[in-house]
Amino acid sequence: MSWVLDEQRRMLRDSAQAFLSERAPVSHLRALRDTADARGYSPALWRGFGEQGYAATLVPEDHGGLGLGVCEAGLIAEQIGHVLAPTPFFGTAVLAAWLLARAGSAAQQQAWLPRIAAGDAVLALAVDEGPKHRPAALQTRALRSGGGWRLDGAKVLVVDGHVADALIVAAQADDGVALLLVPAGTPGLVVERTVMVDAHNAARATLTGVQVGDDARLGPVAEGRARLDGVLDVGRAVIASELLGLADEVFERSVGYLLQRRQFDRLIGEFQALQHRAAELFCDLELARALVRQAQAALDAGSADAPRLVAQAKARAGLSANRAVQEGVQLHGGIGMTDELEIGFFMKRARVLQELLGDAGYLMDRAAVMAGY
C-alpha cells in the first residue's frame, strides 16, 4: 500500500477541500441549524456533490459512477470533517451505494445508482435499535408474507431517515438477515426526525406491519449478515476519516490560538504545559491517520485482517478526535465555550461520530474477539 497520497488522490483531496470550503464552511451548518431547516441539508449542495463526482465515488462505472474505493471516499469524508458539511454523502453515497453495488438486483441498481451518483437521491440505512450500536442482535423482524416481506420493529439513529427516498432496513429473518428497501411513505412506516446535538440529520423509524415485495430484498438472506458486516466496516472506515479531518481542523485552530493569545505578557504557546499537550495531540493524530489509511487500504484490497484493522482504526480515530476537541475547548479558554466560536460544533460532531456504528469500547471489544482473547 501507499502511505503517502499519490498524485490522483492528492488532486481529489485538493478538489474536495476547495469545493467544501467555498460551498459549505461551518457557517453553512450553522445556518441550517439556526433556521431549523426542515430537511437539515441543502439539496443544491448535494447536487454539487453529484456534479463534482463525489457522490459517484463508490458507484460502479457502468452505473455512471467512478468505481473508486474506500480510500477515496475517506479522503472526501476527511474534508467533510474539516468543515462539518451536513450532506447525504455518508448514508447515501457510501453505505447505500456500497450495498446496492454489491447486493442490489439489476433493477435496483438501475433505479438507484445513477441517481445516487448524480446527487439526486437520498437513501438511509436503518440498523441500530437502542442507545448503543449492537448489530449482532437485531430485534426488528422480517417475516415472509404473501410472496414478499412483513416488517415489524423500531430503528434509531437512522442517518437522513426523514429526508430519505427509501430506507434500507436490516431485519432478522428466520434464516438470516434481510436487507429490505422500504420506500418513504410505505404504509406502516413512521419516520420521526430527531434533532441532534450536532445539528446533523438523524431519525427514528417504526415499522408496524410494513409490507414490501420480494423485489425489495438486497441480496440473499443467507448472505445478509456478511453484507451487513461489510457495509458497517466500510461505514466505520469512512467515519474514521471524518473524525480525522475534524480533529486535524480543531488541532490546527488550537495551535493557531496558542500562537496568537497573549497572557502574562507572553504567548500562551510558550508555556511548556501547553506545548506538551499539543505535542502529545500531534502524536495522537498521526497514529490515527496511519491506522485509518492502513485499514482503508486493507478494505480496498479485500484482505482478511481488514475488519480488525477497521475496528481499531475507528476506535483510535474516535479517541484522538475526542482528545482534540476536549483540548480544543480548553486551550481556547472561555471563548471556547461560546456558540460563536466554531470549536463547539466540532466537539458535538465528534461525539456523534464516535457513537455512530460503534464507539471505541464496542470496537475494541470486537477487535479483541477477533484477536482471540
Partner: protein, 396 residues
C-alpha cells in the same frame, strides 16, 4: 520496468542465498536479549551457527546493506535493502549483527568522516569485529547534553582527554568509544568536538552501573589523561555538535529497526495463556482485557505510523523532528506493554531467579523498559522538540 524486473531477480537470488546460508538455528525467534549478536573483540558467540551467520552476512556486506561496498557494505539501493529485509523476515532470519557502530557511528562517519577514517573504521563495523559504545552523557550533562565538561586539550599531535562519561552502554564490552569532548571552554555548543578513542588506551577505565533490573548494561567511563591521536577527530574541531545532532537523527533508523526486528508476542495472547477464558471464551479478567485491547489499538497504530513516517521521510514530506515524536511514543508504548505483560503474568512474572522464569526475564525486562523514556533524550525533551520544531511553538 527494468527496475522491477531486476528487483524481482534480486529477490529470487536473495531468497536462494538466504535459504542456502542462514543456519536453521538462526531462523528461530530470539528468546531474549542474550540471543543478540553484538560482535567485537570480546564477544563470545553463543553458538557456531551465530558465528557463521555473522561471518557470511558480513562478507556480503549485508550486515549494513546500504553502505558502499568499498567500506564493507552491501552497496544495495534502498529498494534492494527493503527486499532483503522482507526476504529475511519471510524466512525468519535473525538480524546477524546489532551495534552502535551500525546504527550511529557508521552513518556519522559516512557523512563527516575523512576518506581515511571511513576505510579504517567502517569495514570492521560491518564484519562485527569492532564493537563501539557511545560517550555522550556525563553526570552533570544529561538532557542538557551541551553542558558536557570532559576536556580534550591539544598537546602536539595528540589530544589529552580527562573527564567522566556516564550511561555508556556496554562500555565494559566495547572496543572503541565515540565521544563528545569539550575543546573550547569559552563556548557551549560550538566548543564541542567528536572524538574516537580506543578503549584499550592507557587511562581509560570503566565501572558497570547496577540497575534496578539487576543488570549492568551501562557503565561509568573514566578518562585520566588519555592520549588520543589528532587523526581521531571526526569533522572539524569544535564542530562536534553538528556530528552529534546528525547522529541523533539516525537513532530514528534504530527506532525503526526495533519495529522491524521482530514482532513481539501479542499481549492478549500472553494474557490468555496465563489467565484463561471465561464462559464466553473471553479473557477471564475484563478490566485487563479492556486495557490490553486499548493497548493493541495503539500498538497497531504505532506500527502503521512508523511505516507512514518512513515513506514520508523518503518522499521528503517528513519533518526531521518527526523522529522525536516517534521516539517519544515508542518509548511510552513499550513501557505500557511491559506494565501489561506484568499484569498478564501475575505471580509468575514476579520471579527473579531460576529456570522457570528464565532468570526473571519478564520482571527484568519490565524494569529495563523504564529507561526507554529517559535514554536517547527523555520523553519531556522529545515533546519539547515536537512542540518547537514541528508545531512551531515558541521558546528556548
Amino acid at each position: 520496468m527494468n527496475d522491477t524486473v531486476s528487483l524481482d531477480e534480486f529477490r529470487a537470488e536473495t531468497r536462494a542465498w538466504l535459504q542456502a546460508n542462514c543456519p536453521p538455528d538462526m531462523r528461530q525467534p530470539m528468546k531474549s536479549e542474550a540471543d543478540v549478536c553484538w560482535g567485537g573483540r570480546r564477544f563470545r558467540f553463543q553458538s557456531e551457527a551465530q558465528r557463521q551467520w555473522l561471518q557470511r552476512m558480513g562478507e556480503r556486506g549485508w550486515t549494513v546493506p546500504t553502505w558502499p561496498r568499498e567500506y564493507g557494505g552491501g552497496g544495495l539501493t534502498r529498494a534492494q535493502a527493503a527486499v532483503l529485509r522482507e526476504e529475511m523476515a519471510a524466512l525468519k532470519c535473525r538480524v546477524p549483527l546489532q551495534s552502535f557502530g551500525i546504527w550511529m557511528l557508521g552513518p556519522a562517519l559516512l557523512k563527516y568522516g575523512s576518506e581515511e577514517q571511513k576505510r579504517q573504521y567502517l569495514p570492521p563495523i560491518a564484519r562485527g569485529e569492532i564493537r563501539w559504545c557511545q560517550g555522550y552523557s556525563e553526570p552533570n550533562a544529561g538532557s542538557d547534553l551541551a553542558s558536557l565538561a570532559t576536556r580534550a586539550e591539544v598537546d602536539g599531535d595528540h589530544f589529552v582527554v580527562s573527564g567522566q562519561k556516564i550511561w555508556t552502554s556496554y562500555a565494559d564490552e566495547a572496543d572503541w568509544i565515540f565521544c563528545l569532548v569539550r575543546t573550547d571552554t569559552a563556548k557551549k555548543h560550538t566548543g564541542i568536538s567528536f572524538l574516537l578513542i580506543d578503549m584499550d588506551s592507557p587511562g581509560v577505565s570503566t565501572k558497570p552501573i547496577r540497575l534496578i533490573s539487576g543488570k549492568s548494561p551501562f557503565c561509568e567511563t573514566f578518562f585520566d589523561g588519555v592520549r588520543v591521536p589528532m587523526a581521531n577527530l571526526v569533522g572539524m574541531l569544535n564542530d562536534g555538535w553538528t556530528v552529534a545532532k546528525y547522529l541523533l537523527q539516525h537513532e530514528r533508523e534504530m527506532i525503526g529497526a526495533i519495529g522491524e526486528r521482530s514482532t513481539p508476542r501479542p499481549v492478549g495472547r500472553v494474557a490468555l495463556e496465563a489467565i484463561g477464558t471465561d464462559a464466553q471464551g473471553r479473557l477471564d479478567d475484563p478490566a485487563l482485557r479492556a486495557e490490553i485491547a486499548r493497548f493493541e489499538v495503539d500498538e497497531a497504530a504505532f506500527r502503521a505510523w512508523m511505516k507512514m513516517a518512513g515513506e514520508q521521510a523518503r518522499t521528503g514530506e517528513a519533518s526531521p523532528a518527526l523522529s522525536s515524536a516517534l521516539k517519544y511514543y515508542g518509548a511510552e508504548l513499550n513501557k505500557r506493554r511491559w506494565e501489561l505483560m506484568m499484569a498478564a503474568g501475575g505471580a509468575d512474572a514476579l520471579e527473579w531467579e531460576g529456570e522457570r522464569s528464565n532468570e526473571g526475564a519478564a520482571a527484568r525486562t519490565w524494569l529495563r523498559t523504564k529507561a526507554n523514556s529517559i535514554e536517547g533524550g527523555t520523553s519531556e525533551v522529545q515533546l519539547n522538540v515536537v512542540a518547537k520544531r514541528i508545531l512551531g511553538l515558541p521558546g528556548v
